[in-house]
Amino acid sequence: MTWWQVILSGFEALKDYIALHVLTCLIPAFLLAGVMVTFISREAIVRYMGAATSKPKSFALAAGGSFVVAACSCTVIPVASGLYYGGAGVGPAFILLWVAPAANILALVYTGTILGGKIVAVRLIAALLMAFAVGGVMSLAFRKEEKARAEPNPSQTTQVQTKVMKRPDVILLLLLVLALLAPNYIVQRGPYYQKVIVWAVGMALAFGYAFLTKTREEIGHWMRETWWFVRLIFPLLLAGVFVVGIIGALLPEAWVTEWLGGASLRSSFLATLIGAMSYFATMTEAPLVHKLMGLGMGAGPALALLLTGPGLSLPNWLAVARVFGVKKALVYVPTLIVLGTLVGWLAGNTVLR
């Protein structure tokens, strides 16, 4: 194959992607992300997490709350550090650090539209199980340090008064999730224009509702935040898809089947390692996994890559080490690599077989 053909397959992938995904997947997804940033009080969520006193409760709150704090592995670090140094336990802080990039609503819904509902359900459950395991391991490994740390400051923890979300915001959020899901689930096999019709109805409902319940200024905020997501993530997504197209052309199918196929422990470990080291912005993991699965990657390794891809990366390891200390990073990262490998292997041999 000549280099020209290789480049061409990159553009080919880009063309398919733009034709099929931009309108019905990405536009609602970015609007949804904008709503989450504008109308959900993330501060309130993080305060709730910090205020929980018992361990099971704080773990559950951290895992649940992280679903709506959509973030890449890089932007979540200051949030987790704020939580930790604000008095929350080491467990919840690292749960947030893991769940917010690995399994937020945005990434899950987007994975669903590309890879189907089943693997998303498994991704969600696996991410939660891994979150609890990581929280447990971190609390156990640093239990002495945890005891020595000052008790949470009560004046800070009683300030939980701000509401996380008002009801109209919840409805708007749900309408957008619907607009994102409906075209890809209702019209699974029909022609593309049917998807567009379903999409248009969904968008009209969401916008109609927004104009009825929101002030101009709020809508302005929402649009600006949405535009930020477009500016930050869209170029990365396009670059990602282009690279994926090239990888698809260069990588022999036999190689993918050999090293990432099936459901062996080795494939799962390799997939985890790729995911844990390379940087994926939220959502970019889905097209890569889609392509690799087309080339023969097993469902188990695919799950492992979906989980560790956005959640971990080399820059993220370094940042965690800098903010939380080298020792915590040395426990956190290997724990997730072991868990990712095991989860991919187990799921590949059971639910995803």
Partner: protein, 77 residues
């Protein structure tokens, strides 16, 4: 007047600094603008989500990029 921009150096934080400078220029005001990227300092201010803008030690905007108009309004009061 001292305006602090709390950010991690992310694109949104850079944009916030630009917007603050633009608002100052449009109002014809002079102020000391500093970019703070030390997470410990964020905690002192109680800021969790960056970017944030603090004017004379008081956090005015947090977790989003403000508009030029918004900063002008804050500076005028």
């Amino acid at each position: 007047m001292r305006i602090e921009i709390l950010g991690t150096g992310c694109p949104k934080c850079q944009a916030t600094e630009q917007i603050v400078r633009k608002a100052l220029a449009e109002l014809g005001m002079e102020a000391e603008v500093v970019h703070i990227n030390d997470p410990r300092k964020f905690r002192e201010y109680g800021v969790m989500f960056t970017p944030a803008v603090a004017i004379d030690g008081q956090v005015k905007v947090s977790g989003r990029v403000p508009s030029v108009e918004e900063i002008k309004r804050l500076l005028a009061t």
